[in-house]
Symmetry: C2
Subunit: 249 residues, 2 copies
Amino acid sequence: MAQGKLRILLTGATGRVGTAFFAASTERYWFRLADRRIGTLPGFIGHEAVALDVADLAACRAACEGIDVVVHLAADPSPEADFYDSLLDNNIKGTYNIFRAATDAGCRRIIFASSVHVVLGYPDQPPIRPGSPVLPMNTYGVSKCFGEAVAAQFAHAEGLSSIAIRIGAYDPPWTEEEATSRNLSVYLSSRDMNQLLTRCIETPNIQFAVVHGISNNKIKRLDLSETQALLGYQPQDDGFAVFGVDGPG
Amino acid sequence: MAQGKLRILLTGATGRVGTAFFAASTERYWFRLADRRIGTLPGFIGHEAVALDVADLAACRAACEGIDVVVHLAADPSPEADFYDSLLDNNIKGTYNIFRAATDAGCRRIIFASSVHVVLGYPDQPPIRPGSPVLPMNTYGVSKCFGEAVAAQFAHAEGLSSIAIRIGAYDPPWTEEEATSRNLSVYLSSRDMNQLLTRCIETPNIQFAVVHGISNNKIKRLDLSETQALLGYQPQDDGFAVFGVDGPG
């Protein structure tokens, strides 16, 4: 295990967010990469990989041993996911297990991948604040509301530090038709997400926060002011520019 | 089945809240009383009783047939309840199942028994508003956050009407030592709860609401203004008077 570097457990390591974050941060942190099926990833030498089904609490406990910060990305990411077929195991039990295991193992912080889906029911404008009541429109969004509540409870009652990131549309392969104002207003580039994750891992003195994960889009459906003030997050990209869309006005 | 009367499915019918509400409303509604073990209750004649484990989706579907409004009280009410031992089945699956079943059966509205535990982490004052972010301090509270998110999602995405009541301390058997200002500030008498449930059942034109279930306590930890404005709820009791405590000031 590398000395001096923060030891990160990255669940969902082979997903799109995990792969890009690991690639960008291979030198910065020591990683335990975890996913249901895991092989070797580029830059893997010097890190660790474990097969992990987050629905298995005992396996989560083993994966959390010796870890400073957990970046918990493992989840079914589909807005159409079914409660009993998938969400109950992957998102509900999986999130509870990771928080339970990390807390008991003495980890300092968990970064929880929440989603814009927890507030999907709001109109496009005004921008949604992190303290607005949840308003999910599908069971996937409900599962992320559960995760935010777990993150709040462990932070306030069990002394863990936790940050929930409401992730917008991550590096989306949108067609011209899909690149609507509403969609672009939650665009998140991979390099902005990598920066945001680094800020979430390294910013000291946070007991609990809900932060917003979008780029510096010309129009923002999620308000970034509190996130930027808390973390010093400085997004570099604008979805409207990336997709060549002017936006209204 | 009685004609002209609203048809109510009352889950958790043999619990303290359910028993008192049924006794007070025997003539006002037609009831299908449901609980894991159910016998005959006083005033039962003319109503229906079914054994129901809310963790069983098929059983929930049968219980919801022909029902206008579901009053969903069934849950593990213990703040110390364990996730895997109890909450996952009784509160998580149970609530999802009732919302799924009631929606598919064409019920008009669900009244969901939420709890002050979803916002337990706030200081005593100022009074908590229904739109404040959740702040649970135990897994029981997390399970009720999940239920509120389910209630919001079904109301906004599936057209059901739903109202979540954050129930305070219901008719509590407190000793003198337990009757602290903080506790009394969430006191809820059974007759105030009965009135509140009736208002939740009968007030028209509500798609979704979170309301607060406490009495007219001299000091209120949960703000009642929005609840009273929405429902015309007029609580009669004051926990400080009931327990003979002056309260500060």
